[in-house]
Subunit: 356 residues, 2 copies
């Protein structure tokens, strides 16, 4: 992957707004990171039309024309047949070929995951990749994974997610020793599934040399508090939690809007409260937390929200850049090696004894 360390491949046709948001987002990201270069995949006429208004990236971007587009309604099995004939597929292939160090797409999540998994394969020590993203809390953002890549997970998968999530938090949130917890239905050791108990035991015994602080279990209400930096769960529960949080945020803000409309005094209160409400919206705006990463592959693949705006897509590009600049893949590989070396049974130190 040498030579491509700051080249990002963009699927220009994904998302609700196509090339317009993708290219303007890339332009905004380059304002923050001038070293970024882009390879642009999609229908060239549509791309060229937008490039006129994005001078920062236009000069050096390479446009690769491809007619095919993965639709939101395509099943993963249909999409993978267009791995070499779609903007999404070619963006991923560019990472595989070392022409780019990351791919960013706002397209179909299932298709992106399937294509990326086939093209890039998992890092040797990782069994299954996971979808990871940031969620807003009362403090800084929290890293949550898996958000839906794996419906069912064993203890080994959960442990790998914990190590990958901690590496992600270090790269994207800049934390030196992130606090990591497993999502459970209680904080006591006896609660939850066998997989969770086993994963907790492994993390307690083997994460000793890793730059992470394992905190045991956290419950669903731990997601909004921000007391832990990385929350680890299977893809089913993670997806339920993510969407429940979205739904509840919509519920509360919807109820608030309804209450503000209920009387003249309330409407006056609304007018005076607009700055406060704007601050709330800003904190919860998904565009400020945009960029889900399909982590655990030999390459960085970032999924932008389909509905993201220019700022949102720029954030997804910046997440890709942070992970590349921080060598996330070798970091994960090194962390997993250290972890494995500390697992009971793996290269046991002389005289060691594991009871019961």
């Amino acid at each position: 992957m040498a030579g491509g360390s700051h080249v990002i491949a963009l699927d220009c046709m994904g998302g609700d707004h196509g090339p317009d948001v993708v290219l303007k987002g890339a332009e905004l990201a380059r304002e923050r990171y001038p070293e970024l270069r882009f390879r642009l995949y999609g229908q060239e006429p549509a791309i060229r039309q937008v490039l006129g208004s994005t001078p920062r990236i236009a000069a050096e971007a390479e446009v690769v024309h491809v007619d095919g587009v993965v639709l939101g309604s395509d099943k993963p099995s249909q999409a993978i047949r267009r791995a070499r004939s779609s903007s999404m597929g070619l963006a991923i292939e560019a990472v595989k070929a070392g022409e780019a160090s990351a791919a960013v797409s706002a397209g179909n999540t299932g298709a992106l995951m399937a294509m990326a998994k086939i093209a890039l394969r998992t890092i040797g020590s990782i069994d299954r990749p996971a979808l990871v993203a940031l969620m807003p809390t009362m403090r800084s953002d929290s890293v949550v994974l898996d958000l839906g890549a794996n419906t069912e997970c064993d203890a080994q998968n959960l442990v790998e997610f914990a190590v990958m999530g901690a590496a992600f938090a270090r790269s994207v949130l800049g934390l030196s020793r992130p606090k990591v917890a497993l999502l459970n239905i209680g904080e006591e050791d006896m609660k939850g599934t066998e997989e969770l108990k086993e994963a907790a035991a492994m993390l307690r015994s083997a994460a000793v040399d890793l730059p992470l602080d394992f905190q045991g279990f956290t419950e669903g209400n731990g997601l909004g508090k921000g007391e832990v930096d990385v929350i680890v769960t299977d893809g089913f529960s993670g997806n339920i939690a993510l969407k429940t949080a979205e739904g509840t945020a919509n519920l509360v803000t919807g109820l608030l809007a309804r209450a503000y409309r209920a009387s003249f005094r309330n409407r006056m209160g609304y007018l005076l409260s607009r700055p406060a409400l704007r601050a709330l919206r800003e904190h919860l705006d998904p565009n400020n937390h945009n960029g889900a990463v399909f982590l655990g592959l030999n390459g960085v693949v970032v999924k932008s929200h389909g509905a993201a705006n220019v700022k949102g897509f720029a954030n997804a590009v910046c997440v890709a850049r942070d992970l590349v600049a921080d060598n996330i893949i070798s970091r994960i590989a090194a962390d997993m090696a250290s972890f494995r070396a500390h697992l009971p049974g793996a290269a046991p130190p002389a005289g060691a004894d594991t009871a019961g």
Copy 2:
């Protein structure tokens, strides 16, 4: 259970506030339902002290003294040893003996479930009981189950939860034909675990004669919308969803409070907005949705929030009353019998043919 149809057994020692909230809550519930009678279990001196200020229930309530109290920190295995020497245990035993038709406790949930399951056993056609409660939405409340009684569930369990949840919605929300959905990570048929797909197929084929409208799958953000009346899931995901919703509601209202404190104008906006904010708080107040029910047993057992106030405890008592008045247990038994009769293989109608 004859003779006890409007007698409710109260564990007076459970919850953060003990007899004070329990008895005043019962007093308030009797204001709404004058036919209610109570059997009061707990330390008699403490109970008598409050009864002086609750004249409506004092005249007819029967006080049964017992010294033992189940603590919040007790494990279920410890609690069940005090089934006949604790206020919680005796309240449940009263239902078993037919001296009361429902028990209400604000005590330790795990202990209550364990004791109730042993004393009352499940309805013949129900494999596992589930914890069910109401959650606020943009419309009316939604019924959600299981909230944590069963960490892992098979298709049969999920189907039983759907039938029980619909019966609950009819009794407590007064709906004639509740809309029922399974919680999943996507709305398409191919999504989710094998258990979910199998449960959906069973509900589609066999719920035809039941007074419920099966809507397939819903996602986590369906919880706040109120588009379905009953949301069915395993106890792990249900508990994660419930607590994530609580945590997110706290996050949003906490961020709002912070925003209102951020400037003088915002503080003025807050003052003018207080009625709107009070309406929001009222809608989300857990006391207005109080009363989780351990459903599927031969008796009605209601768990009040430990932190519930008088209004909250009264709501829990009213939920118990609604379920008793509506004969929820025979309703569930009848619905399950109808459901089973329509399952493929069970008494197949002549000429029926089930393709591939």
